[in-house]
């Protein structure tokens, strides 16, 4: 079996996603690779991270002696407060999300379709654990960026004509960052455009490993 070029590392993908954060943004980062994005927010921009369990203004992980069981993010990880932090109920927290007050969410996915559909809550062949807040985030947040591997462990394209797995949301993805390339579209009526290739990756390879139609 041929060895495929691996392209960007997960950390590099997170760094590329961090470029999309603008000064003053309120941002929700999903569990997994998206969490790494927080490490790449420069001091020159003012970004407030939101966690759907009712915390706005997430600080870094605590020192061992700072751990507080009542300060956790949506991944149930212990974190810390910042001077800007506020807490609210889950209903008020999802009011922010559903009401379009969060500018950007960066999420992982199992599949994204060329029409912007996303599938990230049901794993094939595994028990369904539930959508958590993913359906609310993709339906409510103004802009959705997906970070995912370009192909699955079995070599199957994850950016597809249509999702084969049950959907999390319909026509909600604005940008896809994989280890091989970045796809983006200016609005949700437009097709995705190939914006950038990882070092050592050419467009032909990306086309080979992508089922979705995209423009160049």
């Amino acid at each position: 079996m041929e060895v495929l070029p691996t392209g960007w590392t997960r950390n590099e993908m997170a760094k590329l996603a961090a470029i999309e954060l603008q000064d003053g943004f309120y941002v929700n980062l999903g569990i997994g690779i998206p969490t790494l994005v927080a490490n790449h927010i420069g001091p020159e921009i003012d970004v407030t991270l939101q966690s759907e369990n009712g915390m706005l203004g997430l600080g870094p992980y605590p020192m061992a002696d700072q751990v507080d069981a009542d300060i956790i993010n949506a991944g149930k990880q212990t974190i810390t407060e910042l001077p800007r932090t506020s807490y609210c109920s889950s209903a008020d927290s999802f009011g922010m999300i559903r009401g379009g007050h969060i500018q950007l969410s960066i999420l992982g996915a199992m599949e994204v379709a060329e029409n912007g559909d996303i599938a990230n809550w049901m794993m094939p062949g595994k028990m369904v654990k539930g959508p958590g807040g993913a359906m609310d985030l993709v339906a409510g947040v103004r802009r959705i960026i997906v970070l995912m591997d370009h192909v699955s462990k079995d070599g199957i394209a994850k950016f597809r004509r249509s999702c084969s797995l049950p959907l999390t949301g319909q026509n909600v993805v604005d940008m896809v960052i994989t280890n091989l390339a970045i796809f983006e579209r200016p609005d949700r009526q437009s097709p995705f455009v190939l914006r950038r290739l990882a070092p050592g990756i050419d467009a032909a390879l990306v086309a080979d490993l992508t089922e979705a139609h995209f423009e160049r």
């Binding site: 966690s51 759907e52 369990n53 009712g54 915390m55 870094p60 992980y61 605590p62 020192m63 061992a64 751990v67 507080d68 069981a69 009542d70 300060i71 956790i72 991944g75 149930k76 990880q77 212990t78 974190i79 407060e81 807490y87 609210c88 109920s89 889950s90 209903a91 927290s93 999802f94 999300i97 559903r98 559909d117 028990m127 369904v128 654990k129 539930g130 959508p131 958590g132 807040g133 993913a134 359906m135 609310d136 339906a139 409510g140 049950p166 959907l167 999390t168 949301g169 319909q170």
Partner: protein, 235 residues
């Protein structure tokens, strides 16, 4: 004054546990869960429960304890990972699950508590969770109709309470607790600390006493952490 403070969980739950009832519980993961009341319901052995809670605990903590004893017949939740016993019972057909997206679940509790029979949300449109639900277009956006939830009993964890039942939650342990408090026909609250009448600034009260029928001092305050993440001193 009406006495809302009970000596312990058994006394507070007395007369309010019936097989087949629906219980709504506060908490997110293991954060802000009513540990003492869950333990007392386990000891009481009430069966065929429908439990509305964002999560289902873990195998040996939280609502997982009531799953182990097979007291729960149905869960209404957004996410039930981290629980092998749940998975076993579900796959064996012993347990029913109704998934509600997390924000929809929170809003359903709030709606039930606020006399809102149903509401329209974009969340879940075009997904399998929309099946059997009314779909409706407002201003060229598609929405789903979701229903409010009212439970027979709400079990809630708060940080502080005064004798009137005014509650203050602590940090991210607030989560679903104030919503659960509104949507129980009877709401029982366990607190880490009682304070005197008038000791909470009226602008700092998260849940007014009107929603709270009975209060106890929490005896179980393990507050187990699911993901203990720390950083090195130098970071």
């Amino acid at each position: 004054m009406v006495q809302k403070i009970y000596s312990n969980a058994v006394a507070a739950l007395d007369g309010h546990l019936i097989d087949g009832m629906t219980i709504v519980a506060g908490g997110f993961g293991l954060c802000g869960i009513p540990e003492t009341l869950i333990a007392a319901i386990r000891a009481a052995g009430t069966r065929d429960l429908t439990v509305v809670s964002n999560n289902a605990g873990v195998d040996d903590f939280g609502l997982g304890l009531l799953l182990r004893t097979r007291q729960i017949r149905k869960m209404i939740s957004s996410y039930v990972g981290e629980n092998r016993e749940f998975e076993r019972q579900y796959l064996a057909g012993e347990l029913e699950i109704e998934f509600s997206p997390q924000g929809t679940l929170a809003e359903r509790m709030r709606a039930g508590g606020a006399g809102i029979a149903g509401f329209y949300t974009r969340t879940g449109v075009g997904t399998s969770l929309a099946e059997g639900r009314e779909v409706r277009v407002f201003d060229s956006e598609t929405y789903l109709l979701e229903r409010g939830i009212v439970a027979d009993l709400a079990i809630v964890k708060a940080w502080r309470a005064d004798p009137h039942g005014n509650l203050v939650f602590r940090k991210a342990a607030r989560n679903f607790n104030p919503l659960a408090a509104t949507c129980g026909r009877v709401t029982i609250v366990e607190v880490e600390e009682f304070v005197g009448s008038g000791e909470i600034d009226p602008d700092h009260i998260h849940t007014p006493g009107v929603f709270v029928q009975r209060l106890i001092l929490a005896e179980n305050n393990e507050k187990r952490i699911e993901q203990r993440t720390i950083r090195a001193e130098a970071a």
